[in-house]
Symmetry: C2
Subunit: 334 residues, 2 copies
């Protein structure tokens, strides 16, 4: 295992310490707890937006804590849900009277723990709502879309929710617009090489030197097919076709496109894929608004990428364009 | 070679096409030439700032073309200098009467070609100055510091030069402040695993599963020592010691710190290293201003990182803080 770490047991806490040290103008800890990261100077009276999840996916999750996106994040061990009690702490810290939206990926541990956390803060009179991100089309067929996993599409969900809350919308209104956004978000990923969980010390899966896996999850969950490595154009085409089979795009539609590197894939490769997606969408008469190319939701040093398409109406465009200032996502459009 | 590409021969052009497609609001091509990338809406009358270099280092070089940093960039093949004639085109496009600063890494091909390009545009009456970035302390001892290679420190140099030019300083003034910045910038890198140049198809060097190389260059140039892999804290300490032996830091100094991933190293690891650097600097009484942690100058999918320290005075602080808006570097501090 070639990693620049001290000990596997210290991996998560030391990474969070580094992030909080580097971004001390934007982040603070809840009562010194390294696993509960909050935005500094949280706006009073607005709906709180919180998330939680396992580590190893930077910038997801805590990298989006800051003005215009998340108010707080509970940090778990690598690829493992944090505890319900720390989630409850996060919710309490982020409530300022208007209630709290818990917005997170559809993973069983996170779901169960957020259920318990919301029950716990209910005793304190804090109103909560839960919305699960289920954007990965490869993780379950359309008929059982409620079983799908949450992947990079959650970054768009954080952005929309955060912007809606900044506009001082009510909890119900924030939930409604996030659900609208999620109904229009689809993702699919491919992997070329695995990552190594520090405390495990060996690769999360084995794959041939000339092979790729279609639809693999961000924790190395098996995908839908293993094949020889295809070209960038073939990969772009198949992913877009799969997404469009689930969420048709027609001429005149506007979308945002995210090409997300899983960790070890170069920016050059991500842009080669974006180039093809952009051409394919143009051929369909679909306009691209605010493309996102880079690392948004990784699996440490996994090689591969995912593509997310978010279909936009005027309201979602406005929320996507709204200002945000977090350690890993900055938007200063006016 | 596991890469998401079409053909090795198309790697550079297709990556640049993707970048220009994704950032069409900020970038344009010079007369349709995919190898000459310019900032849109270049401010008239200011000093032009241009660079050039081989591909495979994104965000370096063309990722910093935009408001507040570079006006133009000539794009070479992977790890190879672009031609003098395309550099001359870039200079011509970026001159609006106040002259052009050519700011680039100290590599022989880039140096020779910029010499020819500057001679060529001299016939057109365009005033140019050349400044070479030589920040890599591991690439040559202090006594022959003029032989050092340019690595991630060039990003700070681009920022300072771009901000000074935006202030409408003269060519001589921009050169002077960039030279002051460079006199206060030092970098050093380590590598854990090589990258593969698409047209070569095999790793740029061989290294044992438990080994690391100290001081390796961003093209895989040999470093100063190969050792067993050390801990993150040991790596942070040795790099900082090496930099401080070359450029002493004392209590009361203010620095910016860049922890730069070379491609395949996770953000978590970069922040674990930043955490230690931040503690070591605090122990010395050195204040950190605007730390930069992420991928700023890569070697495709090489595993490893570099650390850059830039010692700041009030003028350099102001220039570092000044607004910038480029595809890969955004600063909206007021």
């Amino acid at each position: 295992m070639k990693k620049i770490i001290n000990t596997p047991a210290d991996f998560v806490n030391e990474a969070v310490e580094g992030i909080v040290a580097a971004h001390s103008n934007q982040l603070e800890l809840y009562k010194g707890d390294i696993r509960v990261v909050l935005a500094k100077n949280r706006k009073k009276g607005k709906v709180g937006i919180v998330t939680a999840g396992g580590s190893g996916h930077l910038p997801v999750f805590l990298g989006y804590v800051g003005q215009g996106m998340l108010d707080g994040c509970t940090v778990g061990n690598v690829f493992a849900s944090p505890s319900a009690s720390k989630m409850a702490d996060t919710i309490r810290a982020c409530d300022s009277g208007a209630g709290v939206l818990c917005l997170f990926g559809n993973y069983s541990g996170d779901g169960l723990n957020f259920d318990m956390a919301c029950d716990e803060v209910d005793f304190d009179g804090i109103e909560t709502r839960k919305v699960k991100v289920r954007d990965d089309v490869a993780s379950s067929p359309k008929e059982t879309a409620e079983l799908r996993r949450g992947v990079a599409g959650m970054v768009y969900a954080f952005k929309v929710a955060g912007a809606a809350a900044e506009e001082m919308r009510s909890l119900e209104e924030v939930v409604a617009v996030v659900e609208k956004a999620l109904a229009n978000i689809r993702s699919m990923g491919i992997a070329l090489a695995p990552c190594v969980i520090p405390e495990v010390g060996k690769p999360s899966f084995v794959i041939g030197d000339d092979e790729m896996e279609w639809g693999m999850g961000i924790h190395g969950e098996p995908g839908i097919e293993r094949s020889k490595i295809k070209t960038a154009d073939e990969i772009a085409e198949r992913i877009l076709d799969t997404i469009c089979a689930d969420m048709p795009l027609v001429g005149g539609d506007t979308v945002s496109v995210m090409v997300n590197g899983l960790g070890a894939t170069s920016l050059e490769e991500l842009y080669i894929v974006y180039r093809k997606l952009s051409a394919l969408l143009k051929d369909k008469g679909v306009e691209v608004f605010m493309p996102h190319v880079g690392e948004f939701a990784t699996s440490m040093e996994m090689a591969g990428l995912s593509v997310t398409i978010m279909k936009l109406d005027d309201e979602l465009k406005t929320l996507l364009r709204a200002p945000a200032s977090t350690p890993f996502y900055t938007n200063h459009n006016k």
